[in-house]
Amino acid sequence: MTAQLPLRAGPPGTPGPGPRAGAAVIETTALSKRYPGAVTALDGLTLQVEPGITGLVGANGAGKSTLIKILLGLLPPSSGQAAVLGLDCVREGQQIRALTGYMPEHDCLPPDVTATEFVTHLGRMSGLPPTAAKERAAESLRHVGLYEERYRQIGTYSTGMKQRAKLAQALVGDPRLMLLDEPTNGLDPAGRSAMLDLVARIGSEFGISMLVSSHLLGEVEQICDMLVVIDGGRLLRADSMTSFTQVSQVLLVEVDEGIAELAAELAARGLRPRQEERALLVQIASAATYDEVRDTVADLGLPLHRLEQRRRRVEELFREETA
């Protein structure tokens, strides 16, 4: 399958060692991965990811983790190509891993060492000299908000703190790209939004590109510049968030009574309303839509309760698209 994406940047760079300027952060062409036993994890995935924060959304088992492993050069694809920062995932995996920070989905922290020791050690494993590893570990832990607790054993951390420590180890090597696999996993709503804020900050203020996987669309859409949606190993849609919002402006109209009457009248005027619980949603075509809706309510003499412009959640769009 192919997908024509509007996100294409400049022409693909010339092959060679080191990250290539101007190249897409992630680029895959007809990427497939089949596991023994006829399990297809990725099926002809073609996509391009530009610098910024990109959400990788799909249900559990959609192929998100498989894609991340291929991108890190840890899993050979069955067919197709993949490149990260202009480096080939099969041949140049080691260089890719030197420039990439990875936060695994599952628990991956030893309980009996302090966060400082652990992150310092992993900084060494990312290729930092001893002193630099110590400094970068302290700084990474400060950025994720664990500076005060950095000398505590990780086993004493809460789930939220552990997720932050996982983020810190991905950040310690000063990567160009971070691959975060379900960073909000296991967190409560407050922890989720704190983690998302942190990811958004690292992505926007630190200038590090991010690929954030999640099975919850509503979650990553808050922080992403781009969204890649995969389903059953296939690309469902890849687009910038702005292009999603362009088509997703709706007007919500709520009346105390006579909702059926209003729906009929709006439909008659060609506005195609859609009922959602006790309100009607009307696609905003132009500024005239507001007047049209206001006039309709006034003409019918209905008690208007609420009239608001709303950005439709991307989730709803996909529900429509896949339905």
Partner: protein, 308 residues
């Protein structure tokens, strides 16, 4: 607060965060990373950088292993000759200490990481798939080597301290070198088997148990086979020629295999098994087989772990 910061604050905002700084220093390549992992693992295999509890077994093992060397130094100082051989050291003691050390410390190196699923954090870094197990193995061989060879060196120093003249020192040195080489064979084989068995389980207790059981059972079995096949037991009074069964019985245990290799290569001191005679090369083959099996298991284990 400096004047500059004050000015900034006055200009419309207080800067609390010094912001993100990119790393511009040197980045080390894979060989340096592997060396760092070897060093880190070597430290943890002897309990450095861990709590006091983690140091108990390495420290006790080392102290006990040094006792014969100390006793020898005392004996030599009182006018006697060297009482401990270089090639076997005190065999039973060395077996016991090595079983305890390997069973206790091999899981420290690999089982902890398996238990807490740390491996993906290594594999996502600029290392190749087998760098991790090979670095761990190198570190553990070095730890075992230190435990075996340092007492030998103490034995040597304690002996030559009282030696009369360069020729006596030269004699001692010539006797020491084969002993050090045999010690190297011990360290390589036992560390490999220990790590391979430990890598099968993330649970420390299981890992320790399986190593201890394997080493003890095969060790006892070798002694048993030696006895039932006539050995140097009551029949010959330990002096007559050993039966073929007794000569082969050492092949079942890594420790007696190591001793078979020692005797085959010309070690003179009396060991736990009768001299293998013509079966000597078999012990060499067995040594290589055990080593190959352990390394194969270790490699297979981490090849699988890398992609899961």
């Amino acid at each position: 607060m400096t004047a500059e910061n004050g000015a900034l604050a006055g200009a419309g905002g207080v800067i609390h965060d010094i912001g993100y700084r990119r790393y511009t220093g040197p980045r080390l390549g894979r060989p340096a990373i592997v060396r760092a992992l070897v060093w880190y693992s070597l430290r943890s295999s002897v309990g450095i950088g861990r709590g006091a509890k983690a140091k108990i077994i390495p420290v006790i093992a080392f102290a006990v292993m040094c006792l014969p060397a100390v006793a020898n130094a005392v004996a030599v100082a009182q006018g006697g000759h060297r009482v401990v051989p270089y090639d076997t050291y005190i065999f039973q003691l060395r077996v016991l200490i090595m079983i305890i050390f390997v069973a206790a410390q091999a899981p420290e190196l690999v089982s902890r990481d398996l238990r807490s699923h740390v491996l993906p954090l290594y594999f996502c870094r600029p290392l190749r798939r087998l760098d991790y197990p090979l670095a761990k193995l190198t570190a553990f061989i070095l730890a075992c080597l230190a435990l075996i060879e340092i007492p030998l060196l103490l034995l040597y120093l304690g002996t030559i301290a009282q030696a009369g003249g360069p020729s006596a020192i030269w004699d001692q040195t010539r006797a020491l070198i084969p002993g050090l080489l045999i010690g190297l064979l011990w360290a390589v084989l036992l560390a490999s088997i220990g790590l391979a068995l430990a890598s099968l389980s993330g649970r420390r207790a299981y890992a320790t148990g399986s190593i201890a059981i394997y080493f003890f059972l095969t060790w006892i079995l070798a002694g048993l086979l030696d006895s039932v096949s006539g050995g140097r037991g009551p029949v010959t009074g330990g002096l007559g020629p050993a039966t073929a069964g007794a000569r082969l019985s050492g092949l079942v245990s890594p420790f007696t295999t190591l001793d078979g290799v020692r005797q085959w290569l010309g070690g003179r001191s009396r060991g736990p098994i009768p001299p293998p005679g013509g079966y000597g090369p078999l012990y060499g083959v067995m040594f290589l087989l055990l080593l190959a099996a352990a390394l194969g298991l270790l490699v297979a284990r981490y090849r699988k772990a890398a992609i899961s």
